[in-house]
């Protein structure tokens, strides 16, 4: 029995790693609305800028914590490698609800730390805490003018021009 299970598990892990490694980095530019959320979220291959009314996270180097679109809902989560007093967050999770095409249905949640993201994930993403901020987003139409029609396609890398 053990002889059978181990190779299967090993293969699954190996395939998982290969698939993850082959996936191009997520990039995109998004716009928020309103008192606290108006501003831009720009996700690059290695850094994130999230500039809003009360928090300025400018070109923060990031590490991918998790990228999951297994349930048809894309979620990409990053840990910030550096902090600053003007940036109120230590991690963020960008997700798409999978229902409205590529331009609508995005939201971002800012967390003070990766640990808080893990807590939130454990709660089924229902946590509400004063040190978190959630914002509805639209994909920036000025982002190179090209449209990818599905969130899945959105995960393909954009050109450097598009990212700016």
């Amino acid at each position: 029995m053990r002889i059978l299970i181990l190779p299967v598990a090993a293969l699954t892990i190996a395939f998982g790693l290969v698939a993850h490694a082959a996936e191009p980095p997520f990039t995109g530019r998004f716009i928020g609305s309103g008192r606290a959320c108006y501003g831009t979220l720009a996700v690059d291959a290695k850094s994130v800028s999230w500039l809003t009314s009360f928090s300025q996270c400018q070109a923060v180097p990031v590490e991918l914590v998790e990228r999951d679109d297994s349930l048809g809902v894309l979620r990409v989560t990053y840990r910030f490698k550096t902090g600053s007093s003007s940036c109120r967050f230590g991690a963020l999770s960008l997700s798409h609800d999978g229902s409205k095409g590529a331009d609508l249905g995005w939201q971002v949640v800012g967390y003070p730390s990766e640990a808080r993201f893990i807590e939130d994930k454990s709660s089924g993403y229902t946590m509400n805490s004063p040190d978190m901020m959630s914002c509805a987003l639209i994909r920036d139409p000025g982002n190179g003018g090209k449209y990818h029609r599905t969130p899945r396609q959105l995960t393909q890398p954009h050109s450097a021009k598009q990212a700016n």
């Binding site: 609305s33 108006y38 331009d103 939201q107 914002c135 509805a136 639209i138 920036d140």
Partner: protein, 255 residues
């Protein structure tokens, strides 16, 4: 022979505002966008009742608050709808603290029955309290203030003070728990004080008071509640237009 050109097709890129409008259009076919209607109406009624006797107050239209909730949260598919629908009190936002401090007029805006309930913790704990805090912050920013005499509502008796040698109106007012304006209003001939002169006074204090209001409109809300969104006023206008189209989905509320 004329060269044949391939037909050129151009597709116009939608603007940010047009994409945002598509989000709000979701309200036309989803009744959840109206699920806070009764909460908003109750809250607005509470503030209108509390502030109706302040100079120049015009009753707040609850649909303006609903438009703010739509603009701020992006609708019921977003977490902000549940956690922070009017987006007051986010990390780094000084608005909630300003409201709850006594420096910017918040205590004049918040109805007595809410004073003990509204706190930083409660404003972030439930959508209903978040909306109440947002309304209070908006009203605080719409009011115009001055400093003036406010009579003591708990002690309306008239007192008398006898002027002693060396007294001044200021000293008599401080000793009696009243204001110079109150003494002047109740007594003629206070320009020169004479020992033995009897002055009437009522208890009063110099406080911040509301002297006028800026009307709540999409434009004033955009300049006084919003921080940087340049489309805020027309977003509110658009939400109101969508509400007019979708009136059938408005929640009927028990009074």
């Amino acid at each position: 022979m004329a060269a044949h050109k391939a037909p050129v097709t151009t597709t116009r890129t939608k603007t940010r505002y047009e994409l945002w409008q598509e989000t709000i259009d979701g309200a036309l076919k989803d009744a959840r966008w109206s699920e806070y209607d009764c909460d908003i109406q109750r809250a607005v009624t509470q503030y209108n009742r509390h502030l109706r006797n302040t100079p120049g107050y015009m009753s707040l239209d609850w649909r303006l608050i609903k438009a703010m909730v739509w603009t701020e949260s992006g609708g019921p598919n977003n977490r902000a709808w549940r956690n922070n629908p009017i987006q007051i009190g986010n990390p780094g936002d000084p608005g909630l603290r300003a409201l709850l401090s006594d420096k910017e007029g918040g205590p004049l805006i918040i109805p007595p029955e809410l004073k003990d309930k509204l706190s930083i913790a409660s404003a972030l704990a439930t959508p209903q309290m978040n909306i109440r805090a947002g309304i209070a912050y908006l009203l605080m920013r719409l009011a115009q203030y001055s400093v003036g005499t406010v009579p003591d509502q708990n002690d309306t008796k008239t007192y008398e003070a006898v002027v002693k040698a060396g007294d001044s109106l200021d000293r008599i007012a401080r000793a009696g728990g009243t204001t110079v304006d109150t003494i002047r209003r109740l007594n003629s001939g206070t320009a020169v004080l004479r020992p033995g002169q009897v002055l009437k006074y009522e208890k009063a204090a110099v406080q911040k008071i509301i002297v006028m209001w800026n009307m709540a409109t999409p434009l004033t809300i955009a300049t006084r509640y919003n921080i940087g969104d340049p489309d805020y006023a027309r977003k509110l206008e658009y939400c109101l237009a969508v509400m007019r189209k979708s009136k059938l989905t408005e929640s009927a509320c028990a009074s």
